[in-house]
Symmetry: D2
Subunit: 339 residues, 4 copies
């Protein structure tokens, strides 16, 4: 960590800072500049965020961290990409790009079974579907809850597809884990630390969505919460960030793929449906995600989007999804991967 | 709700839309424009967000809602400002501006008692202090938990100041409610709907912070979750939104005060400490909040910011806080209010 | 345009609004809703933004425009994609994806000739290079000005590559047009309307970059300024928007490609270099742009990035660029296009 | 400047960096950390942005600047606040807060004279009014141009109020300077460096608006362009930044006041009208700006907002403006200033 002193800082102020740096277990090293002094604090600064407190001290202009604040999520811990095993046949993080698809919400047996069959026949790997739904409005459909989980399990039995579904509350996390193959943490819960700790204690892979206003560093810190509890099966998901642009529901930040690739070993999944909010934009963004190096995609597919109880405007119909699968396969091949 | 048809939409597509509008319980009304048709769907659209699904239909360009999606939080339900009673002597929402102050985290008995006495002697109304801390890093100090709540209660006993403290998990919400006078929902949990429902069922006032990327409308929807569970004592808190500017921790959106005033009857509190992240900027922003019409402020005060275990850089020392109280009193008087 | 009246608006207020709508040349049409009235104003609202002024009237809650405010840039004017001819052999907007590449700034004869030869030998179509540089700091290198234009012309003579270079001032626009094949309007000048009008009067294709905080609609309005002056050869360029994320210089908004495709006939070019600001991220984002349907890319290539006078960190070396060209060709083929 | 090396960087890479630092005229100083080396480059880094190019070198993780990149705008150059003299009786930057007011556009003699008289009689100091208008749409009213300047001059003759008006093009800058007392640079031209240089060469005070996506540091760099050309009379103006929130036209960043105060000696003016875009929000934000320490305000006032040719929704009527002046006077007094 680098402490930049103010240009007029006196000896007394500097001595106080040096003393505090030593108290915190670091070794200080002063550089005398032309207009001000800069102090390097040598030592592993992770897990010692208290060093930031030096910013409150007299004569200090700013404190610049050098190390990233995460450890277990970092590439320094593990150079190769993590492989997260979902089932005997499905693993995320290798050269095969994994496609998760299905409706936003589980609505009925007919709807989820039809969806699962459409996903399966088009070559998808995992079925998605929400049973507990975090909705902006208390008056919107909140999901079928355990009934929905049972329908998902039934769809899995019929098709063999593993299932990913959202967990929204520490109190019902174990219930969901009893059914799901992957526990999804939604964007609005991406810094719900009580929930992150809870899923860190469960033995199921976690799909962690990036929050709408979350930096990539904060996403890795949220992953660190799960990893630090002992659960090593974390999959990161970019699903659009909030910006000033209103032509799309959110702004899909595909550059998160190479940025994350340079910082972490965890697999990276893209959600083009929530990012764009418009089924017309899902196909081009899916192809772009494949070309940019995503390890997986999660796409909304619904047999009857016009009567969907949530997110109809961004869902693909089965035929359009099957066509997209074909196109994605071609792009995957062009970047030496498979789907 | 207004449905805008595409310029080339045919009769069949329009008939399908009209049919669906009627199925949803609305009365459609067509306006034939020069280049396209526009359909008004007459009826109370709140609680029927399914109408948005019409956006998926063929021939539809966009759907424009007319009514705000919240009811109980809206000024249409209650023209006058709500008064939220905290204790026999403290009520928020009237002409007296309520000052909440104290440290970010409860760290020790000495620290919280000293803080409480400083707040009390400067004329503050409510003591703030975190016992359960939502921290970005799993390696940061996570709070004293129930031990912290007990220290807060002790500080209340000594000074008579009611206490506001954060609740971060439905599982511990009742525990916190057993000690606190106001339950705080932090910015990162502002769309943790499981937690919002839980505090909606408790009988304690709630201070609901705006999320970092939350629109004012979404803030009112989160308030609606609490109100809809039967808890009418909701206080809204603006604490800075995330923008591209990095000179401050967040960007304090003071215009939220008049915007909220025009839309809701709920009291409005400003948090200049988390918004700016820098104690030098807290005083001018506090004065601005008073001038702009805030019903309360929540300010970080710490007897020894340089050794604080969280948020030291943005905390005021007691003497500076006392001076700020004097200044705020003068500005409050200039806008015909008191502190 | 739709005028939403306040729920308590009286007859007198409504009559005033109806009168004003007629004065402005529209035909009003009232829908009586359950809680408020909504008035449709029928007529072509483009070119009559004064209608927005109705928002100031008593009893009016909001005014919702129905038509897009641009005409010439719109798909309604021209269904097919525009083809912009640059030279006898280079046209943008067809199935061949056009690659523009070269250094940020022209620095010397050696540098620009080496760059041009590298672009040419890797199969690039157009040479980029700045002679007039808009720099954030007055102390940064401001470009070689006319000397730079002459070097660009020399590079064109040697390689046959057309050149694209920036114009930053109406006073020097004609000078630049005397050398350039494409006039570039940079992100910081994207709403410099005096400059837009000027290049609209010149007979050279224009590459219009999206501003850092510009919505897609505003980008099309800036294109409209150029088109309205009689210059039909406008190419749009997405180069990253400003968001809260700091891991990349800007956030590349690739979803702008399908959004623009649905709204305009103008060709769309992506600039992955300025968007990411980091040469490590340029290749994956270039492949993604091709997959998402871009009509062209503009990529920074420099023979010696470590000694570049601007934007070294985001420039590719010639060998890396040649490799990227190979990869892009494969992805282009997978989406039925060529490079 | 601090250069952070990658954790695996070798001796050869480090030696190259040390060599390049010396070539650039700095004195390198190495700190050996526990996981990586950090190199301080000692010397005045302003005006030598080439140091950033070190980021392109092998083995370098990041480069952290220590000094601010502006000089003349900085507090280090001048500790006290600048006083910018506008006329014999009006100076900005002292304890008297200067109020500029008037319509968005000059529309007619009657309109501008009525506006000027309203501003004068309420106690305003300076008349604002646009003659050259930068409008998002080419079809919107573009201003009366020189005719408008003549009307402004007439209003000044009648009332004695100095005038502030916008300059949008280097080609007409001298024409505008022939009439105006203050040259305004609008938000969309805040990084139009050709225009900044031009007004830097003229001998008139400049009101420089912050761009919609401009950081405070960039605003100071744009001021530096004007100062570096020899014009020391620069006034900064915050007028709202673009964020995700749509309830207001922009988000007024009042914390820019204390941030700028800590970094620069230049006077600071707030524009609550363009920031909020809604006349209902102008009064509370004006009072907040006074309380936060603004040196001036610029407020839209129009005798007949409902028929204004631009920005009617955000303009105050004369009576409301006079009332606001009274309220601002009281708040100014409460913070020991006058209006």
């Amino acid at each position: 960590m680098i402490i930049v002193m103010k240009s007029g800082a006196g000896k007394k102020e500097k001595d106080e800072v040096l003393k505090r740096i030593r108290e915190l277990g670091y070794n200080p090293h002063v550089i005398h500049g032309t207009t001000r002094d800069v102090i390097g604090a040598i030592g592993d600064e992770r897990g010692k965020l208290a060093l930031q407190e030096i910013e409150s001290m007299k004569g200090v202009e700013s404190v610049v961290p050098i190390l990233q604040p995460y450890k277990l999520a970092s590439k320094e811990v593990m150079k190769d990409s993590s492989l997260v095993k979902i089932s005997d046949t499905v693993t995320i993080g290798g050269s095969k790009i994994i496609i998760m698809a299905g409706p936003c919400s589980v609505e009925s047996e007919k709807q989820i079974i039809e969806s699962a069959e459409a996903v399966k026949s088009a070559g998808g790997d995992i079925l998605r579907g929400g049973a507990f739904k975090p909705r902006t409005s208390p008056y919107s459909f909140q999901g079928l809850e355990e009934g929905g989980l049972k329908l998902l399990a039934k769809a899995r039995d019929l098709t063999g597809l593993p299932i990913v579904t959202e967990v929204i509350n520490p109190e019902t996390a174990e219930l969901v884990a009893g059914y799901a193959d992957i526990l999804q943490i939604g964007a609005r819960n991406s810094q719900n630390f009580a929930l992150l700790k809870k899923v860190g204690q469960l033995k199921k892979p976690v799909l962690l969505k990036r929050g709408m206003a979350m930096t990539i560093q904060e996403l890795l810190m949220s992953a660190e919460y799960i990893l630090a509890e002992g659960n090593q099966s974390v999959i990161l998901c970019e699903r659009g960030i909030r910006t000033f642009e209103t032509a799309t529901r959110n702004t899909l930040d595909l550059s998160a793929i190479p940025v994350l690739r340079s910082k972490t070993h965890l697999p990276i999944v893209i959600d083009p449906s929530h990012a764009t909010g418009n089924h017309h934009y899902v196909s081009p963004m899916s192809l772009a995600a494949v070309a940019a190096g995503a390890d997986g995609l999660i796409i909304e597919v619904h047999p009857d989007p016009e009567h969907a109880s949530s997110d109809g405007p961004q869902s693909l119909k089965p035929a359009k999804f099957a066509l997209l699968m074909e196109k994605m396969r071609r792009v995957a091949e062009a970047v030496d991967r498979t789907i």
